[in-house]
Amino acid sequence: MFVAKNIQSDHKDLIHDVAYDFHGRRMATCSSDQTVKIWDLGEDGEWHLTANWKTHSGSVWRVTWAHPEFGQVIATCSFDRTAAVWEEMVGEKQHDGSLRTWLRRSSLVDSRTSVTDVKFAPKHLGLQLATCSQDGIVRIYEAPDVMNLNQWSLQNEISCKLSCSCVSWNTSRIHSPMIAVGSDDTNLSAGGKVQIYEYNDSTRKWNKVETIARIADPVYDLAFAPNLGGRNSHLLAIASKNLKIISIEPLRRDSTLSGQSGLTKFELKEVAEFNEHEQQVWRVSWNVTGTVLASSGDDSCVRLWKANYLGSWKCIAILTGDGSPQETDRPQFGQLQGNQSAGGDRSVGNAGVRNLPSGIMNLRRNTGWPSFNTKKDQSNVML
């Protein structure tokens, strides 16, 4: 069964990012209208707007939540060349219905160009933040005192030489800190568009450990899968001319070599490659367990991908809109007569939220279902 519910965001321009907090009770949206909105899930099961403020003087590209261990904190990045850290204010009591206040704790103004992505480090690394910008520099910031968000120090500047579009942290607790950076440089001969950096504790520097040369087309998004305990390799999803899933497996360090370089060697494998999005893949997002990937692209479809238990990835569902907004009058999936009345009592006081009927089904189960020819399947796995 499948249920859809629409939330009218009332942003005055296109939404660029929707971020869900760790516990799924809060949602942040950002837009070209230069604002960020915070939505809280009420006891009534509906999303309520609880904050709405102008964050930047340009389009806000991305919004991201810090782990709640650090309090209620978000970071944003913008076309206005800055990134910012915001914290929800506690203290003065407000009347019900009024909006809450978010304070700008810090403005990160080191970039000379549009800041295209911002991501908090996994929580075991403390309160760290990575930004990347069009000028090709990845910056790592840190708040040494987690109780004082006013102070962020620029820990590292990594020059990637190519205009950067996206950055992602590896969440592994075992492996030393690692980020992947994607570039949207359109020059196919400018080299690989995905670079992987690893932090070296002793030199306190980030070192480039890999450039994925085979990805020469511009990259618009990438994401490490949440690291499952049992998995030795790291999975990286890349949105480029097609969708790629790369596995990055650390090799055992050669003692003689590591003495000199200190770098981990990796074996990179292309686990999956899909061209279904026709031209360009825009965005990739992993589910909580890192087992299902959602991708979206030029075909205006969201596709869900999942590996069967033999490790081969298949599309399990496609989601798409029902066409242009002007045509909403025509009968469409999910609209049956007399259906809206049932939800009437639930949407009281939520003008912005519209309950929509739901439809049966379905992610196809037998898609991605293994075939049982053992030999053949095992040879697939080896690829």
């Binding site: 006891e43 009534d44 099961g45 609880t50 929800e88 506690v90 019900d96 809450r100």
Partner: protein, 390 residues
Amino acid sequence: MMADIRVKFVSQKISKIRWRPCSRQGFGSSDVFATGSWDDESNSVSMWHLPGDSQGDEDMEDDVSDELVEKEPRLLCETLHRGDVQDLQFLGMEHLITASSSGTVSVFRHHPNSQVIGVSQEWDKLHTFPSQNNCSCTSVASQDETIVSCGEDGKMNVLIVGRRPPLRRIDNADSCTINDVIFLKQSEVVTVNSTGQLKVFDLRQPSDQPTSLFLVTGDQTALLCIDKHPTQHHVVAAGGQDGVLSVWDLRQEKYPVTLLEAHSAPMWEVKFHPNHPDHLFTCSEDGSVWHWNASTVGAASAGAGLLAGTGAGSGGGIAFAASMPGGSGPNPSHSCPWLTLDVSRHKMDITSLLPTQKNLPVNSIDIERQILLCGTDEEAIYAMELPAIR
């Protein structure tokens, strides 16, 4: 041995279950109870009817084949509840008080004739945090028309039914979360908190300070629930997050008279039998419900040195019965077996009441006469007949 158990699946996790009090004190048994749910997309308060027990309505001629279904608890009415139902208490026959995870205290009225239930009074967000995060109201207690509510904000409110503004607010009742509150006497309440403290407040005193403070042990294990002996009000029993049952003599020491290692997980409720106070019931996150029978304690011969109780499975029984230093020995004047456990070391019957080892927690119990009710996270209500209680 196995009690007669009736089960009803209700499609919501039950956080609280309460018998409606009997119409006349001491007469007849109630056949109506209320439940509250928690942790769902929408929560509710429901009223149920438990069809007559075997001795009860003899004039009811049931079709034998349908007997099982007929004996299941039947839903009378229900209404939505904003937030988790954290506590639920009857206020007389027709009113119910709930404590909500949203910090609200509500009074519901149940109209028994039309079988309708609805809010009659509400103290919205009585318990709050400075930020607008929900602050749970964890517990309510009532005595006549007076209601006391406690919460995670460590505050205590004294409310009068029908009056909007609280009669009194004790803002610093506790540094920590108050987990449960009960009335001890007319104007005296006792609270337990998340650092293992038990405090007695006299509501007539102007001071915000408790009149006395008791501790479980040196470590900070939270106390989650408390009940008082129905006739000897200085005897209280409390359950801890570590599953330990502790019994206090409030006239005496700071530390409990008896500590009984019981459940292997947080103990959510403890209840003395209202008419047979030698019987006590506990339920736990570990999914078990235990019946503690101390009626044999006084009678058994001394010096047997028997430590273990019987029946409650591994880890059951009295693993340690600690007498706190400075104890003055048995006081011949109290005949209450709960206070003499440590010195007598007599055998106590402990029975695990639910049939198989269950997996999901039992959050709430209530007992009237011979029927014990249980509300669980497996979305079921149990009604157990315990004919053995005398």
